[in-house]
Amino acid sequence: MRFETLDIIIEGRNDTVFLFLSGAFHKELIPQMREKFAVLLQDGNRRFMVNMENVTYIDESVVQMFLQILNSVKAKGGELGLIFKNETLTRAFAPFFNLIPVYPDDSTAAPTGLLATLRRRGVLLSRKTGVRISRPVAIFVLIVLCGWFATLLFIIRLQNSHLKEQQQELYELTTYKQHAIIEINRMQERLRPMEQLGILKDTIAQKP
């Protein structure tokens, strides 16, 4: 049964639809596979990873089919990646490595961590809001944003150093004041017996 040689598993992992193919991929299976992708796209799926590590044979026209699928996926703002490292497929897809992203295994294809999550989140948000911006505009906006952040940081830093100087000055003045008070008290203590004898008049007390 030439039509029934390929086993397919379709499952979702973190907003990505994984397709695991195993067996021989003959050209008779192309319409079937194309239809499956069309239905999956229709259902709102946008990120696809096709694991073909267990594909034992691949027809030349299958490679063309994947390029066409890539086009239709990209047209809908999606992504398509292939996962394999076996020799048969590497040879078949070698001329198209610059067009289709190829990963050696599932874990590389679906990276975890903050960046990957942000990226996925970003795709999801753009899908939800419908906002689309080109790459140069995105870079320009990013530079402007970075400039804003740098200016803000510079201002904060400047303010910080100014505050530190004022703090230092305040500290010095407070210390001087304390010393002056002590000095005044000491002088007053010395002059008090003379004042009591009436030799000196208390001029400080007379001040309004």
């Binding site: 049964m1 086993d7 598993i9 499952e11 979702g12 499956k36 239905v39 999956l40």
Partner: protein, 639 residues
């Protein structure tokens, strides 16, 4: 008179599932009895067959005494594997693992590795020669029924060759407490006298005594008698261990034994025994599931997770679960559901480990018949769909309770031995187009006239994966018999699983493609295999009515949009809900030629009269929610 060599092969056999504690007691009692006989007759040498898992259950003190016997040269261990695998039905790597794990256990617990192998039920496969040789085993023991009639009664052992490897083959005379000879010595003399050939320098015979662990009578009475007789006739018969005889005597010659199996009660071995086996219902699905789970385990790289799961799979591989039989085997509901439960448990562990979210769709040749089946799965449920056989569901797992709810056994045999046969296999969503006046009794008696050809037709399918879950849409153009003329009609049915929740959806849409009115009764049949059917723990509730005896009595209720089935033994409750009302018939799943037997399942028929105007449609949507309820009693930790 020449002195003949006699090998006594003792085989404690456990055919039924037993709770762990009961198994422990039975093995200890067996060993204690055996040790007392060995102490009574110190010259007796015997060969003992033990599956590896017996060693895990045996008392340490008793095991140490067996070790001493072995060291003294009175005992030789024979292996069946970690369990007693059905070699013809099992994948090679699993069998190899089973044998190697058994050897490892012997080495760790018994202090030595066995050098002989006994295939359970004499299930022989030529590939075993290579596998056993590689594992370091020197000989295999088979029933004499497997050997050609010309050499069957020769007293000695043979050599067998396959793909460049050779192995010694020993033929045995299998007896059990019921067939054990009353006069042992006469019987032995008869065996030796049957061998007219002068091939052997010393004649050698094997007595394979099978001792049921759960026997009500005392099987050791005969063994004690046999041991005393051997002791009495010590000059005529020398009791030997297999390896000592093989190492000191040459083989009688070469033998080629094809794939065979000795089924109990069927003394004739049959080269086409697999055709016979697959003519039974359910065994095919059970074995395919075993293969599928084994493939998944092989693809998993995490050894820590896989190792205990493979051991569980070895338990399912046990021949006693995969042979037909009322007391034990796949015909027995308890055994069948136990095997499914183990497989579902392993699959569930692997599924959860993969971090799959929102469901999975698999399109694979699950039945290995050259046709793809579609498998929808999520965290709680798994449905196996055969789009070529009327778009039926042939297995349905409720993973949270390790239950295959669509595993009702049909006593009708399949010929040719296809795994699924429309009309015979007891599956879910078997569709019928019937006359509007058709009654439930007509369906039971088989007198209902089918107006459509939905039973075994092939459906076109489309699979869909959305954020709400996974589903499959099946579509078929068919025809309906209307006043002796066929009118075109199309049927579309959709099965779906909601994300990771235990909810199963189904939709039926019938379209009248002709320019004439159509009036018929649409019915779809579901066969359930609840564990509580036999014990009367299954109940069906509709509004205020409760039906206590489903699977035993026929009953029906009309215009139902909501009803509930619960099985307290299985710990599961099914909430059915449909958009439009159905008439529900609950039929005991017995066939016209077999008596009513609740263990064969419960058939529920959802029916309603449909009136279709030209170019119009009829549609009904349904939902089944599966809930866990408190289980009556605990799971018996069976082996």
């Amino acid at each position: 008179m020449k002195r003949h060599a006699l090998a006594l092969l003792l085989h404690p056999c456990k055919n039924r599932l037993m709770p762990k504690t009961a198994l422990k007691d039975a093995i200890n009692s067996f060993t204690a009895n055996l040790l007392s006989i060995a102490a009574e007759f110190p010259h007796l040498r015997f060969n003992l067959v033990f599956p590896g898992y017996f060693l895990e259950s045996i008392d340490v003190l008793l095991l140490s005494k067996l070790r001493e016997l072995s060291k003294k040269g009175n005992l030789e261990w024979i292996l069946t594997g970690y369990t007693e695998p059905f070699l013809s039905l099992s994948p090679l790597n699993l069998t190899s693992h089973n044998i190697n794990h058994g050897l490892q256990l012997f080495s760790e617990l018994a202090g030595e590795t066995p050098c002989g192998f006994l295939p359970p039920c004499s299930n022989w496969e030529p590939f075993l020669i290579d596998m056993l040789s590689n594992a370091g085993l020197n000989y295999a023991i088979l029933s004499q029924e497997l050997f050609p009639i010309q050499t069957r009664y020769c007293c000695g052992y043979w050599m067998a060759e396959h793909t460049g490897k050779a192995l010694a083959l020993i033929s045995t005379n299998v007896i059990n407490p019921m067939t054990a000879p009353a006069n042992f010595i006469d019987w032995l003399n008869q065996i030796f006298s049957q061998d007219k050939s002068e091939l052997a320098t010393q004649k050698f015979a094997t007595v394979h005594y099978m001792i049921p662990l759960s026997a009500s009578s005392d099987p050791f009475r005969w063994l004690r008698y046999a041991a005393s007789e051997i002791d009495k006739y010590l000059l005529n018969f020398q009791s030997v261990r297999f390896s000592e005889f093989i190492s000191s005597n040459p083989a009688l010659g070469l033998q080629y034994v094809p794939s065979s199996l000795l089924i109990e009660g069927n003394k004739q071995t049959d080269q086409h025994f697999l055709n016979y086996l697959y003519s039974f219902d359910q065994i095919g699905i059970l074995q395919r599931k075993l293969l599928d789970v084994n493939n998944k385990l092989n693809a998993t790289k995490d050894i820590k997770t896989v190792a205990p799961l493979i051991r569980q799979l070895c338990m399912v591989q046990d021949i006693n679960r995969l042979l037909p039989g009322k007391e034990y085997g796949f015909e027995n509901t308890n055994d069948r559901l136990w095997s499914y439960a183990k497989l579902i448990g392993i699959e569930r562990t692997l599924y959860l480990k993969n971090n799959t979210k929102g469901g999975q769709i698999r399109i694979t040749d699950f039945l290995k018949n050259g046709v793809k089946s579609i498998i929808l799965a999520n965290k709680s449920l798994k449905a196996y769909i055969d789009n070529t056989n009327g778009g039926q569901i042939f297995a349905f797992d409720f993973r949270d309770r390790y239950l295959n709810l669509c595993a009702a056994y049909s006593p009708q045999q399949h010929q040719p031995p296809n795994i699924l046969v429309a009309g015979k296999s007891r599956t879910w969503f078997i569709d019928h187009i019937l006359p509007q006046d058709c009654k439930s009794s007509d369906l039971i008696n088989g007198t209902a006239k089918e107006l459509g050809n939905l039973l075994n037709g092939q459906f076109e399918y489309k699979v869909r994966k959305t954020s709400s879950g996974v589903r499959i849409a099946l579509e078929r153009q068919c025809s309906i018999l209307r006043a002796d003329r066929l009118s075109p009609m199309s049927i579309e049915k959709v099965y779906g699983l909601e994300q990771d929740s235990p909810v199963f959806n189904f939709v039926y849409q019938l379209s009248n493609l002709s320019l004439m009115d159509c009036h018929f009764k649409f019915a779809t049949q579901l066969f359930f295999s609840f564990p509580g059917l036999c014990s009367g723990d299954v109940k069906i509730r509709h509004r205020s009515q409760t039906f206590e005896k489903p699977g035993v009595e026929l009953f029906q209720f009309t215009s139902a949009t909501k009803w509930v089935i619960e099985d307290r033994l299985g710990g599961v409750r099914l909430y059915f809900q449909t958009q439009k009302p159905f008439d529900i018939w609950c039929i005991p799943a017995s066939s016209p030629d077999s008596p009513c037997e609740p263990s064969m399942g419960l058939a529920i028929v959802l029916s309603c009269n449909v009136d279709l105007e030209p170019s119009s449609r009829w549609k009904n949507i349904g939902k089944v929610t599966f809930r866990k309820i408190r289980r009556k009693g605990e799971y018996i930790d069976a082996l």
